[in-house]
Symmetry: C2
Subunit: 444 residues, 2 copies
């Protein structure tokens, strides 16, 4: 996994990843396990896991000698000389956790919520377990310290399929606090399964943001050689620290190489692949930005009208969601009795994922007529791409007449918005008019 | 809408689409309304709508004179001389309906089921209505007659959002009859909204086919200038008549130009855009074939293992579906009570559209435990692209232990297959093992 100069150094000494090594530099000595590197362009550092559990990055040009550490199990703590080299120092900043204030350095908050990006392989079961703390995660991506001071904390440890609207509220509140504390950006490490639901939920809960809030995940766990955890995190941090942008975003690989991270608008992104690195895609729009990991350049799409960064802007934080909303995908043979079930359970919202331009069968009309009396019934399309257009065909016009609300957004975004407007309005009429007002670039 | 030579001819005579014209050829005379052409490469024909309602195509090189018909409203029936030109004749074959047997010509059956491809604008309401019969449809696409003898009939007239498993059974039976009658291919004109559900349903109901069955639709109605009805039909007919392929396919535009029609495997295709011509996409595979409308060349993808045409092959026709199967999309805040509702209603199958590699929240586990006693519970992924992999994370392994069946197919295909296996098996165990056997190229 080491490349270029680092690879040649290790090769020439016959040292392999996972072996105990002792590395001497001009300023001190490190003993520990040689860790794998992630697929980054950087071939100028070795990473050594110390007995303390922390990882240290050692600049290759500073290495005086490297050898297998024959002392075996009894690995000693590292010994660092007095005159630390800049290179080693910079790689260790932030490892101890906590905010590292600096007058002229950017400060980012990182909130870990679980998922693959914060997980590692459980060698006992062979599967993947949520296990890494945010600090550990940070310690294995030493490059982050060259981007900003980082304050990392664990808010929760959940696979994202287990997250509920209650968890969105917790995240919105914690992120809101960080924003009010004056951080220059907030990174939320998140499982990828429902990251796009959360990003759209936070987009409504956290409006008028002064700085970027960037959700980031990984498709492969951070101790797998092909992990995208490190590169996604670096891309997210570069954007959060430097982009002239504010709002809620998702940062993930733009393609299957490691060169570029795409930053998507939080309400317009979807996980479109079960496993590939570039699973997340902006739908019916371009990504807000591309971050080049080699040059560290951020290319914003200036046509999209992304709000700029403005630390004097006061955020609107409204973190409540009404969970009594269902997202229902229509299909041939769909049983309208499910709508009746939701009415009976006191649901207040129903987002239909209809076919084509926004259709369901005539057989559903009566159930929908019953539903509109007591809840918001919204239409979206299971096609995923393309505009909702309910005036073209008889079916759509009939549904509009019945009182179905056309929501020209992703179905997942329609769900989170409906949950949010219901919790932040005093009547169905008010909620309906909020639904039809654009709040977070959610309309196609 | 006329191009090239046809355009220049009309331009030089100052004649516009919609005007009454009289056209004389070396063999006769036509009076009627100059119809718009569809966006085809063919610039060698004018289309005239006769008083009879039929359209006739007139080869430009045969035209002796053309003029605006100043007789106004009283358009006369066409008068054709004795020695009809080949060109005119070929364009009129089939207009009268019924099978036109010819010893050495390919015969296709066309079954119309409704939808945009068989619809036109209702100028009263401004919307689109299902109205055209298959014969009318055929008469406005005279190019079809140069491809094959066509036997066209109307089986039903439904927007596809109104179709149910019962309609799939009707279609399977009618298509099956046509196959047994020895047609060289069958075209099913269908609404696009649920065409991919129907194509997968027919893929299970009609196995071991000797010839191709091609579903075809249109994203814009056939009397709109930008209609894709004619080009899709021509592509479908070229494939059904000439391709060395058997099975169930969907033929629609490959891209936003008019040059190529993509032919997709019936179980691996999805409507991915609400309105664009290239809405239908093969998922995680290439299209089975591309049909070039200009050269009429069919380029099969030989890597896919598509079954070849073999008129001695005996089809397996099993047209029944069990409608007691639901497709449920999981989402944050999903109410497992819906699963309880389905159990109570006597459902026999549940296809979950889970997140990522095939996950739902822990909160659903108990409801799924209850469900597996009385029904098949299958998992698919709402990501759409990528393999289902339920062994990677704890959540997936837990669900497998509970008895969830991993179905590495599109969710829509999982639904139709589950409905089909339940109607064609005698026990849940048998149905389960049928689910896990590939039948129609449905596995990714």
């Amino acid at each position: 996994m080491y490349t270029g100069r680092a690879y040649r150094l290790l090769e020439s000494h016959g040292i392999r990843v996972g072996e105990r090594v002792v590395v001497r530099t001009s300023t001190g000595e490190h003993r520990g396990i040689l860790m794998p590197r992630y697929e980054l362009a950087d071939d100028r550092h070795l990473v050594i896991k110390l007995k303390s559990g922390y990882n240290v990055g050692v600049g290759i040009e500073r290495i005086v000698s490297i050898a297998r550490d024959e002392e075996g199990e009894g690995v000693e703590e590292e010994r660092i000389g007095k005159g630390r080299g800049i290179d080693e120092q910079s790689l260790r900043v932030g490892v101890g956790g906590g905010v590292h204030h600096g007058k002229d350095r950017v400060r980012l908050a990182m909130i870990s919520t679980g998922g693959t990006i914060a997980s590692r392989i459980d060698y006992r079961t062979g599967g993947v377990k949520a296990a890494l703390t945010a600090d550990e995660l940070y310690s294995i991506v030493p490059e982050l310290s060259s981007i900003a001071y980082m304050d990392a904390e664990v808010l929760m440890q959940e696979y994202s399929e287990n997250l509920t609207p209650m968890h969105w509220s917790m995240m919105a509140e914690r992120v809101g606090e960080k924003v009010l504390q004056g951080y220059d950006g907030v990174i939320v490490a998140h499982g990828t399964d429902t990251m796009h639901y959360t990003s759209s939920a936070l987009s409504f809960a956290l409006q008028n943001l002064p700085v970027p809030v960037v959700l980031v995940g990984a498709q492969r766990s951070s101790d797998r050689p092909s992990s995208d955890a490190a590169t996604n995190l670096i891309g997210a941090a570069l954007f959060a620290a430097n982009a002239d942008a504010a709002g809620v975003f998702v940062a993930m690989h733009n393609d299957r190489s490691d060169g570029r991270i795409a930053v998507h608008v939080g309400t317009r992104v979807r996980k479109n692949h079960t496993s590939s690195r570039d699973a997340f895609r902006s739908i019916d729009m371009e990504p807000a930005a591309l971050v080049d990991l080699n040059t560290r350049e951020i290319k914003m799409d200036s046509n999209l009208g992304i709000m700029g960064r403005d630390t004097s802007r006061r955020p609107l934080i409204r973190s409540r969601f009404d969970g009594r909303v269902a997202l229902i995908k229509f299909h041939p043979g769909f049983d309208p009795g499910i709508i009746g079930y939701l009415i009976g359970k006191g649901y207040r919202g129903l987002v239909l994922e209809g076919t084509g331009l926004g259709h369901v069968s005539k057989g559903c009309f009566n159930a929908i007529r019953d539903a509109v009396d007591s809840m918001l019934v919204c239409m979206t399309s299971q096609c995923i791409w393309g505009r909702l257009r309910m005036t073209v065909y008889e079916t759509g016009r009939d549904l509009l007449r019945i009182g179905v609300i056309p929501l020209d957004t992703l179905p997942e975004t329609a769900l989170t918005k409906t949950m949010w407007v219901l919790a932040n309005s005093t009547s169905l009429d008010e909620a309906r008019s909020m639904l039809l007002s654009e709040m977070a670039m959610e309309f196609k």
